[in-house]
Amino acid sequence: MICLSVFKRRMFIRTVLVIVLILFGVFLVFIGKQHIVVFANEEVYQDGKIFPALTKVRIKIGEETFELEPGDRVSVEVVGLKNAFLIETLADGVVDKSITFPLSLKLERMVIISLPLVVAGSSNVTITE
């Protein structure tokens, strides 16, 4: 390190430290952010097509599992950037399709995931209300 006068060196170290702390704060907010994820099993309209609600579907996220009838909604609190949930569509008691869907959330407070779109594999699965 070029040896600046002691005072300049100290000031440099202190400004660096302050910046690091601020970044650390922002990082904390990201990883600590709590989001509310709402799973909606409703009929939805996207790019001209209509996707009907799924007759029976089971969601498994973290340790919680839910079963949704058409038109049901369930909300789950999730923490952090990276989460994933398992979605299984059932036909009279038998699992016919199961997808693990990665959820990447930034700072959104709440996001609504439309299950029919997920099953249909469309790119944009979040709906806004």
Partner: protein, 536 residues
């Protein structure tokens, strides 16, 4: 320019406070390894000289000083004591400058602790360095060994005997490697004989190491024992600067106290010496615990109608006598006023038995600064003798008689020529001289049998000085009030008093008539009771 071994040069130094000069054209040199003895009466300018050398803020706040101070050939200006320390001047104060619950090591290395680096320092600054206690202990031991005394570096200062405290403070000064000049302000005043001996040995050892020492003391014998040269200050002027070999106790005393011009006869009190006559006040083995002015054992008699003077150097206990008799400080002994015993330690009973007191601490004890002149003048009379009071309900309610008070105050303002706007002006707005006149008025209102006046003329302008002295003399002549004046200005005492007692180390050295030779007073003040002539 100057040869290498002159460490301190003082040229043409002068200083004045609000117009009256305190130091005038002081020139002297201090060589490396030389010990100078600085001697002078109180108020001769010794402490002002020390304050200048040590860069005390009081000097800068009162307009700085004239002349030059040169250390090792180059002129220096001190902004504050830390500057002086960095330039190599160390000072041992009379009252200890130590932290009681710190160990000797911590005191010696105060604010110069040896520390070890740690990373936190980069973020939080140098003061986060960790103390290296073993290294500090070693360095403290070194400094103490250099003094030739054995103090355990881990003892708390509060548990140390007095002499060890003194040595700790000196150790702190010499631990400063850049220390070239050491100033000691009456260090032996608080030490016993043997402790003083060791101190003098230490000073000799330090001077041998090349440190220049300025040693201030009233014990002339000590000065003669260890100093190479003696400087005598009087009234702010440097009277004598001679090697020790050419001086002895008697000559130093006369230089200290004597006046070149043969003082004119009018100065000395011509009134016949009152040796007979009725004794109004007799004091037997009075002891007074007044901090800094301790009275060990004093006995004297005062005749009725006499002006009795009490002189002596500061700190010897002369102020203790009036404060003790007035009951302001814990005291023991017997005091008879017209053969009636006075209860000590009770200011009210002293006041009621006809004593009154002008305190030496005018602003601290002598005045109610936020109150009006009128109230200040009548306060004691009203409290003690219930004057200026309108009684209601048979004396149960004692009401202040405002008109009477104002009339009386106006009369005294005219009589003592107190320059003010009116009787209800606040005393804090008056000049020193006028404030003292208010004190005098307060005391005269109680028309006392005996009036104690402590340092009546200290810190007031010449005009007011003369007026206060005249009022006291006039009051003594007209009403026959016995006055006991305590003052450190010998000249003034001799001009106003019939007899003057000199107090030294808490006891009365002797009582001399006012017209006794000046040197005798000087020698008494310096505690050389033995070798002097003159009768009681």
């Amino acid at each position: 320019m100057s040869d290498s071994n002159i460490v301190l040069q003082v040229c043409g130094l002068c200083k004045d406070f609000y117009g009256n000069t305190v130091l005038e054209d002081i020139n002297f040199e201090l060589k490396r390894g030389e010990i100078i003895g600085l001697v002078g009466e109180n108020g001769a300018g010794k402490s002002t000289l020390m304050n200048i050398l040590f860069g005390m803020p009081i000097i800068r706040n009162t307009g700085g000083y004239g002349g030059k101070i040169i250390i090792e050939g180059e002129e220096v200006h001190f902004f504050n004591p830390v500057d002086a320390i960095n330039n190599g001047i160390g000072m041992v104060h009379q009252e200890f400058f130590l932290i009681p619950n710190f160990t000797a090591t911590e005191n010696i290395l105060l604010n110069r602790e040896i520390t070890r680096y740690n990373p936190l320092v980069e973020v939080f600054g140098d003061r986060f360095q960790l103390l290296d206690r073993p290294a500090m202990r070693r360095r403290a031991e070194e400094a103490i060994r250099a003094l030739g005394v054995d103090i355990n570096p881990d003892t708390l200062v509060s548990e140390m005997p007095v002499s060890y405290k003194q040595f700790t403070e000196i150790a702190r000064e010499i631990d400063r490697t850049q220390m070239k000049i050491l100033i000691l302000d009456e260090p032996t005043a608080v030490l016993t004989e043997s402790e003083a001996e060791t101190l003098l040995e230490t000073l000799k050892r330090l001077s041998a190491k090349g440190i220049g020492i300025i040693f201030i003391s009233h014990r002339l014998q000590e000065i003669l024992d260890i100093c190479n040269r003696i400087i005598v200050l009087r009234d702010g002027r440097l009277i004598k600067d001679i090697p020790t070999s050419e001086a002895d106790v008697r000559s130093i005393a006369s230089w200290m106290v004597g006046r070149e011009v043969e003082e004119s006869s009018k100065d000395v009190r011509k009134k016949p010496k009152l040796t007979e006559g009725e004794v109004i006040l007799s004091v037997r083995n009075l002891q007074v615990d007044m901090p800094g002015e301790k009275v060990k054992n004093v006995s004297f008699d005062v005749f009725k109608g006499e002006i009795f003077g009490i002189g002596g150097l500061a700190g010897q206990g002369k102020l203790g006598i009036p404060n003790g008799i007035m009951g302001l400080f814990p005291s023991r002994g017997t005091v008879l006023l017209n053969d009636k015993q006075i209860k000590l330690n009770d200011p009210l009973s002293s006041l009621q038995s006809g004593l009154s007191f002008i305190s030496e601490d005018r602003r601290g004890v002598g005045l109610l600064l936020d109150e009006s002149i009128a109230l200040n003048i009548v306060f004691t009379a009203m409290q003690v003798q219930k004057q200026f009071v309108k009684k209601f309900l048979g004396g149960f309610i004692k009401w202040r008689d405002e008109e009477e008070i104002y009339r009386y105050a106006r009369d005294y303002i005219k009589r003592l020529d107190i320059r003010c706007i009116g009787p209800d002006q606040k005393v804090i707005e008056l000049s020193g001289g006028n404030q003292q006149k208010v004190c005098v008025a307060r005391v005269l209102t109680t028309s006392p049998n005996i009036l104690f006046a402590s340092e009546p003329t200290r810190g007031i302008d010449i005009g007011a000085k003369q007026l206060v002295l005249n009022v006291l003399k006039e009051f003594n002549e007209n009403c026959g009030t016995t006055i006991i004046v305590t003052s450190s200005e010998l000249l003034e005492l001799r001009s106003i008093c019939h007899r003057v007692a000199i107090v030294n180390e808490g006891e009365i050295a002797d009582i001399l008539p006012a017209n006794a030779p000046l040197e005798d007073f000087g020698l008494l003040m310096l505690g050389n009771v033995g070798n002097r002539g003159g009768s009681n």
